[in-house]
Symmetry: C2
Subunit: 312 residues, 2 copies
């Protein structure tokens, strides 16, 4: 986990371009995002639900989705301020998906990011409602807080966010993931479906919504879409590899969980080495999609590299 307190050493980021330090960039952006998230929810009556939402929303994490949204808004000529409410909404939605995924009826996880999961602290009923509350609030928040964006463009972002979360996106991916658990022979195309939906859809929405807020041209949206799909799958492959190779301390959650639950993973299909190579190939393709944008795409390039280099 990257955080302001614990930045990755620059040496882990391969090919980091001269003059651009990803750890500094990430920790600065994480701070902006965390401050905005902290301010987005106050604790009022009934306190328990607001505390439960804040507990998971502010429990750390890489803040990759909001940071991608801010970065693509800037790439397309917009500002951080313009994209910050959408960036927060993306993290709210992501947090909802983690809270609900961890429930006993789903993945039944006790730890997340080194802390007890939401339902272990607040109970299953409140955890379900905290997820629902974050999901609904995400739409209200981005709609009410976004400034200097034409309403028609903002509506596109609302639709994109909804599409990325619904059965066409992460909900659909989670369903196939649950159905595949313990199944004998999961094909590569099923595994790709799971991750293109469960992780990929919201990552793509993060990348595209930032650019859309700044009215990016169609060609740029296509390039960013390629970038997003490739880093999304690479991210998941690396996640699967780390589940096998990293310790619980590094991950902040139960390690070896996939093996234990007989979950189909990329390493189980390809082995560790081939998985690492596939992830690297996807990252290279992601970077190639942004070749036209020169220095302005440096943060996105470095984030792509970071995905294969990360240790947790």
């Amino acid at each position: 986990m990257i955080s302001a307190e614990n930045p990755q050493t620059p040496s882990l980021v391969k090919d980091a371009p001269d003059g651009f330090l990803l750890p500094d960039y990430l920790s600065q952006r994480q701070q902006v995002v965390v401050e905005a998230l902290d301010a987005s929810i106050s604790v009022v009556y009934p306190e328990k639900i607001y505390e439960a939402m804040r507990y998971s929303l502010l429990a750390g994490g890489k803040r990759l989705r909001p940071i991608l949204c801010l970065a693509t808004c800037e790439l397309a000529g917009g500002t951080v301020e313009m994209a910050l409410p959408t960036a927060c909404a993306l993290e709210m939605v992501h947090t909802m998906s983690l809270i609900h995924d961890d429930l006993p009826a789903m993945d039944n996880d006790d730890y997340r990011r080194g802390k007890l999961t939401n339902h272990k602290v607040y109970g299953e009923d409140i955890a379900i409602l905290a997820g629902d509350g974050l999901l609904a609030y995400a739409f209200e928040f981005l709609t009410m807080q976004t400034q200097d964006v034409a309403p028609a463009r903002l509506l596109k972002v609302v639709a994109r966010l909804g599409h990325a979360v619904a059965a066409t996106g992460l909900v659909g991916g989670q369903v196939v993931d649950l159905e595949s658990e313990g199944a004998e022979d999961i094909t590569l195309s099923t595994l790709d479906f799971i991750h293109l939906h469960k992780t990929g859809a919201l990552l793509e929405a993060s990348v595209l919504s930032g650019a859309e807020l700044a009215d990016a041209p169609k060609k740029m949206l296509e390039h960013l879409s390629q970038y997003a799909r490739n880093i999304g799958l690479a991210f998941q492959i690396v996640d699967d590899v780390l589940d096998v190779t990293a310790t619980r301390e590094q991950l902040g959650k139960t390690a070896g969980k996939d093996l234990q639950s007989q979950k189909a993973t990329y390493p189980s299909l390809w082995g560790i080495e081939e998985s690492k190579q596939q992830a690297q190939r996807l990252v290279d393709e992601a970077k190639a999609a942004l070749a036209d944008y020169g220095e302005q795409a440096l943060p996105l390039m470095a984030i792509a590299d970071f995905i294969t280099a990360r240790q947790s």
Copy 2:
């Protein structure tokens, strides 16, 4: 439950104005809404989640929220077509709240509208995801499908819907409801908080969003807000009374549930007769708020009357 197959007899509707037949109106509008809901979700891969969402979305019910939305849009000079996507979104959100409320970790109900609850048919994991999917899709659907409404007005409706569902609305109401279960002395103000949020917030959003889509003047929105709050509470009081007096067959769900779970209800605070009188008083106030609008408000007036007259 009112449906095209089983309309309430007109005699149950007190003071029905000449020439306006609420049962005909409701069954015609229910048909419009059900057809639109049926068309809103197709079953594609992964089929199970789409089937689960359709199971609860098309499981009957009064369709009161969508019908209110269509009625206020017309009252404010708009059309049914203009409000239909928002009307469907309101029913999707309402359905999500029912699916999640019925979960074992929440109210643990086996029956809803005379049918097995979502998790009894599809399992808890899919029921949680079906709720999430409906909630996210509601926002995508209303944003993508609404036509002939200015984007800025549509954004207001998105924000209103989010606010009505989040911790500021039905989620907050459900939290206080859960906290109050089995508690010794629930005050009237706590009970009002629960229902103004758990039921009232989405009813108010239904009433106001329809009018907002048609750019209703501020004064009309204030009147409609009074109307909505009053029918919302009246609706809940009647619900509580029916839980004591009606049979499971009439309700389509377990009767006497509130008593069994020691839930605070209006009849437990006031007794049956006083509860009925309070509901009638609220309905009268709701109707008084619309006194300025003459014949155009007939459907809303009749719906208010229907709330106290209904048997299920």
